[in-house]
């Protein structure tokens, strides 16, 4: 076979058919075990409840109507408030870390690795570490007792404070990494230009650095808000299941309460909230950065 023909044949084969053969296994797996289950969940949320879990044939909107019960509206509102607060705290703590990280030289790889590491370590182990720290006989209390600052142990565990501490502790790396990614690409000559034009450090930050890092901020907020919205481990283990979040509600419907269609409806509410957030993110990302012309 001539060289020319072989090269042409190779380039030609890079089109449709060959591509699809590579895509098919993963595409099918994702379709079958990700998309189909989500659709099945939507279907379940619209069907009457079966006696022993599961559903019965039919169509109903009762599971969505149930959400207007004050009990469930409270859970929904609490979940949104807790997730938003967690996102705000993560932003306040995470932005400075990303900023310093992006400007560091010598220690950058180590500092970055120290952020990446908790990103991947077991959520369960991290939650347990918080319990170990906050319980009545935990380290915080025993240090305070020893120092004579308190006479008896403070109730730290099984409080809203403990849940928030656990959430922030778990999701903070999700905020730092995307912001770092945008700050790392920041062109230093832009800051020099601002400086030459007379901008003081504070002005340089608010008018150059911050606007440019905005896509990273939005991505980070989303990456914290989404898992916080669906979380149930921190409120379960650190909150003592006293203040239910929607994640606890869903888990409960699929275990003890055995009301799968209502649990599905609750999941769909979470999923729709997430999709609204993602679409909003895609819109901000496609817009040019403000302040740059």
């Amino acid at each position: 076979m001539g060289l020319r023909r072989r090269l042409l044949g190779w380039l030609g084969a890079r089109s449709s058919l060959r591509g699809w053969a590579l895509v098919a296994p993963a595409g099918l797996w994702l379709a079958l075990f990700f998309v189909v289950p989500l659709l099945a969940m939507v279907g379940y949320s619209l069907m009457p409840r079966g006696t022993y879990g599961g559903v019965e044939p039919g169509f109903t909107l009762e599971h969505y109507q149930r959400f207007f019960d004050p009990l469930y509206l409270t859970i929904l509102r609490r979940t949104l408030v807790v997730s938003a607060l967690c996102t705000a705290i993560c932003l306040l703590l995470g932005y400075p870390v990303a900023y310093v990280l992006a400007r560091s030289r010598r220690w950058r790889n180590l500092l970055l690795f120290l952020v990446v590491l908790p990103f991947w370590t077991s959520f369960l182990v991290r939650t347990f570490a918080m319990i170990f720290l906050l319980r009545d006989t935990g380290l915080v209390n025993s240090v305070l007792l020893k120092a004579g600052l308190i006479q008896e142990p403070l109730t730290l565990l099984y409080t809203p404070f403990a849940v928030m501490a656990g959430l922030v502790y778990s999701f903070l790396p999700f905020m730092i990494l995307p912001i770092y990614a945008t700050l790392e690409r920041l062109d230093p000559s832009l800051l020099e230009a601002a400086s030459v034009l007379g901008a003081r450090p504070a002005a340089r930050f608010w008018r150059v650095t911050l606007p440019i890092s905005l896509p990273g901020v939005v991505a980070g907020c989303l990456l914290v808000f989404i898992p916080a919205l669906g979380s149930f481990l921190p409120s379960d283990l650190l909150g003592g299941a006293k203040q239910m979040l929607i994640g606890n509600l869903i888990q409960n419907q699929f275990t003890a309460a055995r009301n799968w269609p209502f649990g599905s409806a609750a999941s769909l509410v979470v999923m729709v909230t997430v999709l609204v957030g993602v679409l909003a993110y895609l819109r901000t990302r496609d817009r040019p950065a403000p302040g740059l012309h």
Binding site: G19, G27, F34, W120, V125, Y169
Partner: protein
């Protein structure tokens, strides 16, 4: 460039403390002889010895390793093929597929777990190791694909063309040129997939069934019942193991492609 203000350095130091101190304390106290308090009463390895005597932990470890190996193998192969297709081929439905790739990253874990439970229940599939593997592959593929795509973006396509011009056929080109260059990315993806599988509790708890608890499911039960120093010990083991995997993945991910 401006100097980093001192208050900023202090704040960032504080955040690093907050991120790492709890885990460090956990590790340190897994060697503490006292059973009930955080007072240091002496060094011991008793809690680790107790781990080896607990059949539930050993069984959980076994299930986790089996699930992890299968899930990693499948998701690495599928994810790498998908990355190759996305990077090197043009085909209809590419955009749709790229969006599909990101769906698992933005879906809360609990939603993944219950939707799979509904699917398995609907088809009357018995829950066990196979259903856990299916679930883990479903959420790991995207991570593998993204890591391998990043590697592919840093590779020079001309090397493949050069191999072709020098007379290599497509298979030879793939196995002798493309794959060796891609390998660090593929291994990095595989290590991440294994870590994700090994650490997952939320999704697994819905699709595991009663006879096939993974290690995190067993540990969750221990944390719920009561806190004993053995939980510190098993947490330390898990922590050291996954940190090692992430360190390796990180190193491989940084390795430069031939240019």
């Amino acid at each position: 460039m401006d100097r980093t203000p001192r208050w900023l350095g202090a704040l960032v130091g504080g955040v690093y403390f907050f991120l790492h101190l709890p885990l460090l304390i956990l590790v340190v106290f897994s060697f503490n002889a006292s059973k009930f308090s955080v007072e240091w009463t002496g060094f011991t390895l008793d809690w680790y010895r107790l781990l080896l005597e607990r059949p539930d932990i050993l069984a959980g470890l076994r299930v986790s390793l089996i699930v992890g190996l299968f899930a990693t193998a499948i998701s690495t192969v599928l994810g790498t093929l998908l990355a190759l297709a996305l990077a090197r081929y043009r085909f209809r439905g590419r955009r749709a597929l790229e969006s599909l790739l990101y769906v698992p990253l933005v879906t809360p874990e609990i939603v993944v777990g219950i939707s799979l439970l509904i699917l398995f229940a609907g088809f009357k599939v018995a829950l066990g190791i196979p259903t856990i593997v299916i679930a883990h592959v479903a959420f790991s593929i995207s991570f593998v694909t993204i890591v391998v795509l990043a590697r592919l973006a840093g590779m020079d396509e001309h090397l493949e063309e050069a191999a072709m011009i020098l007379g290599a056929d497509e298979w030879t080109t793939f196995f002798r040129v493309t794959l060796p260059q891609l390998l660090p990315g593929v291994l990095s993806g595989a290590l991440l997939a294994f870590t994700l599988s090994f650490d997952d509790y939320v999704i697994t708890s819905f699709v595991a069934g009663s006879g096939s608890s993974t290690l995190p499911v067993v540990v969750y039960g221990m944390v719920r019942r009561n806190i004993e120093p053995t939980v510190n010990a098993i947490s330390t083991v898990v922590l050291v193991f996954t940190s090692l995997l992430i360190y390796l993945a990180d190193r491989l991910g940084r390795e430069r492609a031939l240019r």
